[in-house]
């Protein structure tokens, strides 16, 4: 096994004619890390992956794998394994031939024969008996395991996964993503994973980058990104969230007579849609503030920051229900174990420090 490689993208731009696919992407992936690019479709995450794989070239910027500038290096010389959404297994080859294809061009890592390497990988992905099968007879999940085995066989220094689970059904997807994660940990291979599914990104990644419109909005651990979204886009994209925007009408340690907060915390009163909400934020009077409150922080019966929400729809999710409603013309999402009826008005509130401030402009 080749040592895991770090990856650096610095100011990478990709422009096709009139369209800018990547505006400016700079990110560093640490050796051995499971790094996810997540964003809505068309955001540029796949383009980023394709630049790393050598299938697209960057219009500008610097791409380094293991410190080596790879611009102009064709895909076959990058030592990069790739798994695509639709598997891209070679339909005219058996499973074993597929997995062994990369070994035609390089020595099997670990010193064994190519055949040994193929069985080793098929066992690793849990398909030890499938070698002689025709890939078209396999199920989607099995095909994706074969594709993973094939990508890993030559011992790449970097693994690129392009929406590898998106074509699979929900249950299989979760099982297979645990398999992928287990194998990645075992091999310690640097992995760049592309998905549009933010829940998946939060579940599997060491760190993730949220991509939107050809730019990286935020890079961080799943916890950081979930708890402290850096931009309004991230706040709305990662998990359910309630985003509020307003103007600071008063600031102080204890404005508007609110008590019970820690002494050293700065509080601000923000006018949102005609109501005044108190949030823990360090900002000046008159500033515009964007902040968000997770649905689970909106609790019924709380007397601070009371919102009277008219329920418009409920979704039963199992352990909880997701409730959507309207408060002063703004859409609000709640979580509850006992969903109210549609049309009912529920009162919820949140503590000033349940708030995460996304942005302040003076």
């Amino acid at each position: 096994m080749t040592d895991a490689a770090g990856v650096t993208l610095d100011g990478v731009r990709v422009v096709y004619g009139e369209t800018t696919a990547l505006a400016d992407v700079s990110v560093r992936v640490e050796p051995g890390e499971f790094f996810t690019l997540v964003g809505p479709s068309g955001c540029g995450k796949t383009t980023t992956l394709r630049v790393l794989g050598g299938f697209e070239s960057a219009t500008a910027g610097d791409v380094r794998i293991d410190g080596q500038d790879v611009s102009g290096v064709p895909p076959e010389d990058r030592g990069v394994g790739v798994v695509f959404q639709h598997y891209a297994l070679f339909p005219h080859m058996t499973v074993a031939e597929n997995v062994g294809y990369g070994l035609r061009f390089s020595e099997p890592p670990g010193g064994g024969t190519a055949d040994e390497r193929v069985s080793e990988l098929l066992s690793l992905v849990g398909l030890p008996e499938a070698g002689e099968r025709d890939p078209t007879t396999l199920s989607g999940g099995q095909r994706q395991r074969v594709a993973l085995a094939r990508a890993l066989a030559p011992g790449p220094r970097l693994l690129l996964l392009d929406e590898p689970l998106s074509a699979l059904d929900a249950q299989l997807r979760e099982r297979l993503r645990r398999t992928v994660r287990r194998i990645q940990r075992e091999l310690g291979i640097t992995t760049v994973y592309v998905t549009h599914d933010q829940a998946e990104a939060l579940a599997v990644s060491d760190r993730l980058a949220v991509v939107s419109d050809g730019r990286i909005e935020q890079v961080g651990t799943p916890r950081e990104v979930y708890r402290r979204p850096a931009t309004r886009f991230v706040a709305g994209f990662v998990g359910d969230n309630n985003v509020f925007e307003g103007t600071v009408s008063a600031v102080g340690d204890n404005p508007a007579g609110v008590d019970g907060t820690a002494d050293d915390e700065r509080l601000a009163t923000v006018r949102v849609g005609g109501a005044e909400l108190t949030v823990a934020a360090d900002c000046r009077r008159g500033a515009s503030v964007t902040f968000c409150v997770r649905p689970d922080a909106l609790t019924p019966g709380a007397d601070r920051n009371r919102l009277d929400v008219t329920v418009t729809e409920t979704e039963f999710l199992g352990e909880t229900s997701r409730v959507r409603g309207e408060w002063r013309g703004q859409s609000i999402t709640l979580r509850t174990t006992e969903p109210p009826a549609v049309g009912e008005t529920v009162s919820v509130g949140f503590g000033p420090d349940a708030v995460h401030v996304v942005g302040v402009t003076d």
């Binding site: 096709y16 004619g17 009139e18 369209t19 696919a21 479709s41 068309g42 955001c43 540029g44 995450k45 796949t46 383009t47 394709r50 794989g53 050598g54 299938f55 697209e56 290096v73 064709p74 895909p75 076959e76 010389d77 990058r78 030592g79 990069v80 394994g81 790739v82 695509f84 959404q85 639709h86 598997y87 891209a88 297994l89 070679f90 339909p91 005219h92 294809y101 990369g102 035609r104 061009f105 390089s106 594709a147 094939r150 990508a151 066989a153 030559p154 790449p156 690129l160 392009d162 929406e163 998106s166 074509a167 592309v194 549009h196």
Partner: protein, 643 residues
Amino acid sequence: MAAARRLRDRPERLVLPALAAASASLLLVVFYYPVATVFVDAVTVDGEVSLAPLAEVVSDPFYVGWLAEPGVPGLGELSGLGRFGFTAWQAALSTAASVALGLPGAWALARFEFRGRRTLRSLTILPFILPSMLVVVGFYAAFGADGTLNTLLGAVGLPTVDLLPSLSAVVVAHAFYNAPLVTRVVTAAYERVDAGAVETARALGASRRRAFLDVVVPQLLPAVLVGATLTFVFTFASFPIILALGGTRLATVEVLLFSAIRQLEYGEAAALAVLETGLSLLLTAAYLRYERQSQTERSAVRPLPRRELVPSAWRERATWTVRRLGSRAAVVGYGLIVICVFVGPLASVVYESLVIDGRLTATAYEFLLTRQQTGASFQVKPWPAVRNSVAFGVATLAVALPAGVAVSVATTGEGRWSRLVDLLSVAPFAVSGIVVGLGLLRGLVFGAVVFGYRVTVTGPVAITAAHAVGAYPFVVRNVAPALGELDDRLVESARSLGASRARALVDIELPLIWPGVLAGAAFAFAVSVGEFDATVVLAEGGGTYTMPVAVERYVGRRLGPATAMGTVLLFVTAVSFVVLDRVGGGGVGGFGSGGERGSTGSGGRSGGDDSERGSTGSGGRGSTGRGERSGDPDGNPGRGDQS
């Protein structure tokens, strides 16, 4: 390690660019350069730039009729048109006849279900691979002085008829040749008509007839225009059919061009060639426009249903209405015409080759194998013709196949190149074989000075070059769409695993698209074996004549040798057709069956995040797959032989 790998792969890496560059140079040297020399010839006299050759032609009443000198008296009712006018007139008649003969075929194939329908539909590919000289032999064998028709008339005691040569014979032969083309193009359009649209019109109150006129006809019209323009281009520059069935009185521009070359009047030949090519290019531009129009309709969501020609409930008389009986009778009547016009001549070729003076004999075939000259009247020996044809066919394959594959690969990857491929493949067919032959003769066989060196090529090399130029577009048209349909991720996977681009082509793409490659090969071989126009120019006086050239020499003198050689040509054509139909027809490029069968089914389509890359290719070849390649609705670039 990466560096070592790169070094090792270097020669392999150069294979594809080298092939593509070689193909481009080949096209430049054996097509664009020779054609350019013809153009230069047309505007120079003794090395000085002069419009005299062109002016001479366009002011000569012989060529342009009343345009030069209104009311000139001449050779009969058509003379006022001049030779250009006559050429256009016969092309117009032939086009009308082809459309008239072809349209009912489209109706029958698109709207009725019957045994053998698929085979018939596949057979509409024949004009692309059937040598025009075979049409000539067919017409001689069927309608000539000693032909089947006269044999039949004589057998029942009727007086024999003398049908050849005549304008009607030319027009009918052209219709024979081009009606399948019209049928093919219009059938494809008919199958794209959505039944929902017709039903909606009916539900909105349109009668059956109104719905047909308002919904179906507008969707068929562009296809009819495509078929008609192509037919006009082909018949305007048609050569062997006019030469052999028309006689000297019906000489068209192409025939006069050929005589000018024979009489070494190269200035006049060049002027004619330039005028003819100019007209042909204009028409081709029109064709490309109609073609784009007819492409805008995507496949029907639900095509119009086919009615059974013989309904399973046919015994229940009650189900028979006048309309139903009428339409069936029309199909059957059309079938009879098809048998007379299409099957008659080809069957006559085989019949006349085997039956001489009422006896079954192999004499005609023995003649083919004769190595010595058997009769003083034959300047062309049979055996060398057979041998040469096969040799040129193989040589053409050897050049056209790699060239076509290389060009396909170079152009498939990125959508923006797809237009270029279309242009590259259309250009050779817009220029007649005679003109290419003339260019090769003047430019390369007679020698050209390149960087101070005199470069000459021999006749056989020039003939192979001309054949390859005519054949390679067929390879591209079969291979490029098949490549385009493959999931790009297959090659990307292979490359990320360490395969070079060339290696990925050999290991992954070619094994998956071999039916397309084989179809392209069958086309290339058939085009080469059937090619007449360029060959007859280049083989002049040498020993490099091929079967079609030999057939032309024999035809009209002795039917036996001509039909025997015609039967061999027919056999080659039939084998090519079977290869195309059985192997290549299965959804490859739409040649075999025009997209009726399933797609190649090679792996999953790329989907997913394609929107991110959607902007790269206006052609969008990477993302959607079949039916999106341009070409006529069936993706045919034209044919190498007839024009």
